[in-house]
């Protein structure tokens, strides 16, 4: 243990030269306290809710398809509400996006409408005949569809799934995209939800 004695002795002897470290050491000690609380941020961009409302042409009870995930990606599972449509009826569809964590809820559809050229909704049915009855009912400044407003003719009683996808910055001029074919659209998916549709 001779060396450790020397060690201490020598450090003492050189204390003067080591004084510069004292303020640094006290800074270290000073900061050694509890980490402060984070600010719970405002998730203004969050989309919690998609509501696809189909209203029969000429009046009647609107049918609502709803996907809601209030706490975002983690936490609790989303709540999905499916709808039942009447056969041989033409519906006017409106899709609405909300951030329901705020009170009152903030409409994200307004943001999408403001950047209509950079957005497009795609509606994909697992049953082919449903696709035939579907059409876009709106357009952006370039005459390309946006998909906030749609029409749907229900036809004969069948069941299908409906996948609604919102793409940000799709290539609307790519082949088939303006007809609602997502294959060549590209861009990023902001929303992709799937409902069960029953026509009876």
């Amino acid at each position: 243990m001779v060396f450790s004695f020397n060690y201490l002795f020598n450090i003492m002897k050189n204390t003067k030269n080591l004084l510069w470290a004292l303020p640094l050491f006290s800074v270290l000690l000073f900061t050694a306290c509890e980490k402060e609380d984070p600010i719970i941020l405002n998730e203004e961009e969050l989309i919690t809710t998609l509501i696809y409302t189909l209203t029969p042409e000429g009046g009647g009870t609107p049918i609502e398809f709803r996907f809601e995930d209030l706490d975002g990606d983690g936490g609790n599972a989303p709540v999905i509400t499916n709808g039942t449509l009447t056969a041989n009826t033409t519906y006017n569809g409106v899709v609405s996006l909300l951030n329901a964590t705020e009170s009152p809820a903030i409409s994200i559809s307004v943001e999408v409408a403001a950047e209509a050229e950079e957005h497009q909704f795609f509606y994909e049915f697992s049953t082919m005949s449903f696709s035939g009855g579907f059409d876009y009912a709106d357009a952006d400044e370039n005459g390309n569809p946006v998909g906030l407003q749609t029409t749907f003719a229900s036809g004969t009683p069948l069941t299908s799934t409906l996948t609604i996808t919102l793409r940000h910055e799709p290539n609307k001029s790519a082949s088939g995209v303006s007809d609602g074919d997502i294959t060549n659209a590209g861009g990023e998916t902001d929303i992709q939800v799937t409902f069960d549709v029953t026509v009876q």
Partner: protein, 770 residues
């Protein structure tokens, strides 16, 4: 430490020779030897700048310069295939000096400097030297290290890469910038180390398990970035380096000035890098440019022969564009992107523009070091290091929010270290140290997105002791280290209402290592290194929560993770046959119990953006085994052939499957020819090299979204020379990468799902030393 002690002793020893004199009949004589082997080097040249005269060394490496007056001289030492050495002498008497030369090609640097560096180490290491750094500094730090066997890079496109040592990276590889462990967001594969390679004199990788003097947890290895000491020369010196690259039309400029003034020695280095969109063989990689502006200042003061202080500050400042076509919303987008010949959003025009997605990072490092030499046997070094890291990542967002970062983290770190060295006699040494580290990480709420990594504060206390003894042909080393890590984590809950929760963890780690070096023959050296190292889980492994953009997966931390325990054995043999043939073989085996990895879960997480695969941090037992081989052959002095091979296999023993993201095996070969030094042109050399990277076949198909890419071959070439002017040196070289314009993807590049890797590139370099 070693080198400082040596310098100090040299001052003491040289002092008596430097007494007064009058006339012009002084001489400088000496001996030129190979730094690695100690063998005398014949036919080297010594040149005196002031008199413009010189001499050559004889067959025994001896030289003599006569008829010099009292005065100050700059000497230059040259030898074929070696880095030029410069020395400043204030001549007052006949002086005898000894010069060690080291080989300058980066390949042989690895061979020779390896030898040099391991003189007092029992663990294997490889080094890239200053000339190689100046030649390749338009690349990232990590890409420079790829030249070494057993080292590769994990990349996220053209501008972001981080080193992988023997299969491990990120949290498991410590990067020491100037002796201070690099803080910052080291957990992310898309977070490159914030270091300007130009500040370094050499960059080495310690592959062994014995790196106990460095902060704990370095299971894989340690990367050391070491600036050199400022030369004891009272004149202003410096250099300017410029590199132009055709791929990305990139410009890299660095300038460095240094002077050993009476009041203190100082050095300043500044770097600017502007690179535009890179290109793959068949298309532009739109949005892959980069800007980088770095600054470093170094100040050294020798108060007396026993006390020296050093101050170092560096600023690293970068903005990196991420391939636009790799930005995806969900798994469907990823699948769409994979099937394409040309990535989405590919423009047919080149641009220097940087759009979203992009990253900006600022990193400050301040270091203050005080070295105290008590006597011939004892010294003490106190070091303070402060770091601030500010990282922002920007995504393509709706409603003009692209200007708001999607990730914004501010991290600061304070570090204090005391190291005590005791040389009992010439052959025995004890090194002990205490290290204190405080890290604070805060999310900036400007993002409007719940953070992926929570706010936290981490306290680390470490202590170590290493004992070394050299006895005739044997050098052995024993070391132990203890670390206590305390972590305070403050999270925002995933469920509503959002609540703040606090969590505390304390981990105790110990590490043990032993090494032995046995010089069987002067030409044959064996190293065996054994180490047992614990690493405690990092915040990302414990608390990640959310979507990892690049891979379209939701990653979830695991609060119950335990320490990883690694046992690694490294055996290496260096064999030098008559200076013509050098063979280095290094085999290693590592067993890691409780190895932390991301396990894909069976369930999918349903979100409003679709279903995402869920990954959670789990622990398993893993093994990594590999071989690094290097052969360098010089049939005649001007020709050198080098071959290198790296083999690695990683397995998850518990689940009986291969480990993912392990580097592919690869083979490298080069041929170089050095011309005889002329009157004006020195170090003229041409070389051709080829690298073949094998397909990663040690992987099950269900372990990745796409099968690993096939093997590929890259051809490179280099031609360079140095023009000697009166007091300056002009270095010129041209080199080419991927000259066959091969279309390829690399398994460790995360962008391989979206695009091909880089096409051909030519670098033109100019360097001026004065």
């Amino acid at each position: 430490m070693q080198s400082f002690r040596f310098v100090f002793l040299s001052f003491v020893l040289l002092a008596p020779f430097l007494s007064s004199g009058q006339n012009c009949s002084f001489s400088i004589s000496g001996n030129v030897t190979d730094e690695g082997t100690g063998i005398p080097m014949a036919y080297g040249t010594v040149y005196v700048e002031e008199t413009q005269s010189g001499a050559a060394s004889d067959s025994l490496g001896n030289f003599k310069l006569n008829g010099l007056c009292k005065g100050e001289y700059h000497l230059q030492f040259n030898h074929i295939g070696c880095e030029t050495r410069t020395l400043f002498i204030s001549l007052v008497k006949d002086t005898v000096i000894r010069i060690n030369m080291h080989h300058h090609s980066e390949l042989v640097d690895e061979v020779m400097v390896h030898d040099h560096h391991s003189q007092h180490e029992t663990s294997a290491s490889s080094t890239v030297g200053q000339e190689a750094i100046a030649e390749t500094a338009n690349k990232d730090l990590s890409e420079m290290l790829e030249e070494m066997t057993g080292v590769s890079s994990i990349k996220s496109g053209a501008g972001v890469s981080k080193p992988v040592v023997h299969g491990l990276s990120g949290n498991r590889v410590a990067i020491l910038n100037n002796g201070i462990a690099q803080s910052g967001q080291q957990w992310g594969n898309d977070h490159a180390p914030e270091i300007d390679p130009y500040v370094a004199e050499n960059i080495s990788v310690v592959k062994g398990a014995g790196a106990l003097a460095y902060p704990g947890g370095s299971l894989g290895g340690v990367v050391l970035i070491e600036p050199d000491e400022i030369k004891n020369d009272p004149h202003l010196h410096g250099n300017v380096n410029y590199i132009f690259q055709t791929n990305g039309l990139g410009h890299t400029l660095n300038a460095r000035l240094e002077k050993y003034d009476k009041w203190a020695a100082w050095r300043i280095s500044a770097t600017a890098k502007v690179i535009g969109d890179r290109s793959a063989p068949n298309y532009y990689l739109t949005n892959t440019g980069k800007r980088e502006y770095n600054l470093a200042a170094q100040l050294e003061k020798h108060f007396n022969p026993r006390w020296e202080m050093k101050l170092y500050y560096s600023l690293f400042n970068t903005e990196i564009a991420i391939l636009r076509g790799s930005h995806i919303g969900n798994l469907t987008d990823l699948e769409d992107a994979i099937g394409r010949d040309v990535p989405f959003f590919t423009e047919d025009k080149f641009s220097y523009g940087i759009g979203e997605p992009r990253q900006t990072v600022q990193h400050h490092l301040l270091k203050l070091e005080s070295m105290h030499i008590f006597n011939e046997h004892q010294s003490f070094k106190l070091t303070y290091g402060g770091q601030v890291n500010n990282r922002k990542e920007f995504d393509v967002r709706r409603a003009d929010r692209s200007d708001l970062p999607a990730l914004s983290l501010l991290q600061w770190e304070q570090y204090l270290e005391g190291i005590y060295n005791h040389f009992f006699d010439h052959n025995r040494q004890l090194k002990t140290g205490i290290q204190l580290r405080l890290t604070d990480n805060t999310n900036n709420p400007e993002t409007g997105i719940l953070p992926l990594i929570p706010d936290y504060r981490a306290y680390k206390l470490g202590a170590f002791a290493i004992f070394q003894e050299e006895h005739k042909k044997i050098l052995y080393e024993l070391g132990a280290r203890y670390d206590m890590n305390h972590l305070q984590v403050v999270t925002i809950s995933q469920s509503l209402p959002r609540e703040i929760e606090r969590f505390y963890h304390t981990f105790h780690n110990y590490s043990l290592s032993s090494g032995i070096r046995y010089r069987v023959l002067p030409q044959l050296k064996l190293n065996l290194n054994l180490g047992h190292v614990l690493r405690s889980p990092e915040v990302n492994e414990l608390y990640s929560a959310g979507l990892h953009q690049g891979v379209s997966g939701i990653e979830e931390g695991n609060r119950n993770l335990k320490n990883e325990q690694s046992t690694k054995a490294v055996l290496s043999a260096d064999w030098n046959v008559k200076k013509k043939l050098f063979v280095q073989l290094l085999g290693y085996y590592q067993y890691i119990s409780n190895f932390i990895y991301l396990q894909p879960e069976d369930e999918f997480r349903l979100t409003i953006r679709g279903a995402f695969p869920l990954f959670s941090y789990q622990q398993t037992d893993a093994t990594i085994a590999g071989l690094d081989a290097l052969v360098s052959y010089e049939p005649i002095e001007s020709i050198r052939l080098v071959a290198k091979y790296s083999f690695l296999q990683g397995d998850d023993v518990s689940n009986k499957q291969p480990l993912v993201y392990m580097p592919s095996n690869n083979l490298f070969g080069s041929f170089s020819y050095s011309f005889k030094d002329g009157e004006k042109m020195k170090n003229t050399a041409v070389s051709v090299n080829g690298r073949y990277v094998f397909e990663q076949t040690h992987l099950n198909l269900n372990q990745d979204i796409t099968p690993p890419p096939t093997g590929y071959f890259l051809l490179g070439a280099n031609i360079g020379t140095t023009f000697k002017l009166k007091k300056t040196k002009l270095r010129c070289s041209i080199s080419g990468d991927n000259l066959l314009n091969a279309v390829y993807q690399d398994y460790l590049n995360r962008q391989r799902y979206f695009a091909d890797d880089l096409g051909w590139n030519v670098n033109v370099r100019l360097g001026l030393d004065f």
